[in-house]
Symmetry: C2
């Protein structure tokens, strides 16, 4: 998508601190971290939101879930929180599906 900031990061047109890449997925640091660790995981293919998750094939589904888990493990995390904000009322601000991985000084819930 021409105006998608995450597509531009994926294309290397906007800099980001890359954490992991592979299987059609990219992980990079959130520029405005909400916890000690705050990494975003995105599919390289533009998918707007979690509402569209059923457009993934079985293999893509497994790769996406596995990539989130292996990225967390690669960061040395055992305990972490995964969040997918979906739609404006769900707190989504960039409309390219992204998984937040957060760890350290988290609230008990939320």
């Amino acid at each position: 998508m021409t105006n998608c900031i995450f597509c531009k990061i994926i294309a290397g047109e906007i800099p980001a601190t890359i954490v992991a890449r592979g299987a059609g997925m990219l992980a990079f640091e959130d520029v405005a971290p909400k916890a000690d660790v705050h990494v975003l995981v995105v599919p390289e293919r533009h998918i707007e939101s979690f509402r569209d998750i059923e457009t993934l094939t079985p293999d893509e589904s497994k790769e996406m879930l596995g990539f989130v888990a292996t990225t967390a493990r690669g960061l040395g995390l055992e305990d972490y929180r995964v969040i997918v904000n979906t739609g404006p009322g769900g707190g989504q601000t960039v409309f390219h599906l992204h998984w937040h991985i957060l760890a350290g000084n988290l609230p008990a819930f939320g």
Copy 2:
């Protein structure tokens, strides 16, 4: 698992308000809701946490993701937040993998 509260809900041994069931997955209302809508989605097969997500097959991965999204849609939600707390430090309190679906009066993030 003998002492897993979610396995007991799945087996019908502990009552819960069931929202949806199918594809090896169950959705039910959280007994202590943290938002206007707070539903938990669990695999019927006992999996301890998101750390174990790679034990799912491609088909199971697609079914799990799809079940979360279709449960939200079935609740009439367009905007919502998905959270998977992983490990004690991630806020996980029941060690059977569960996806929180939250909607309504959410904080901007978290």
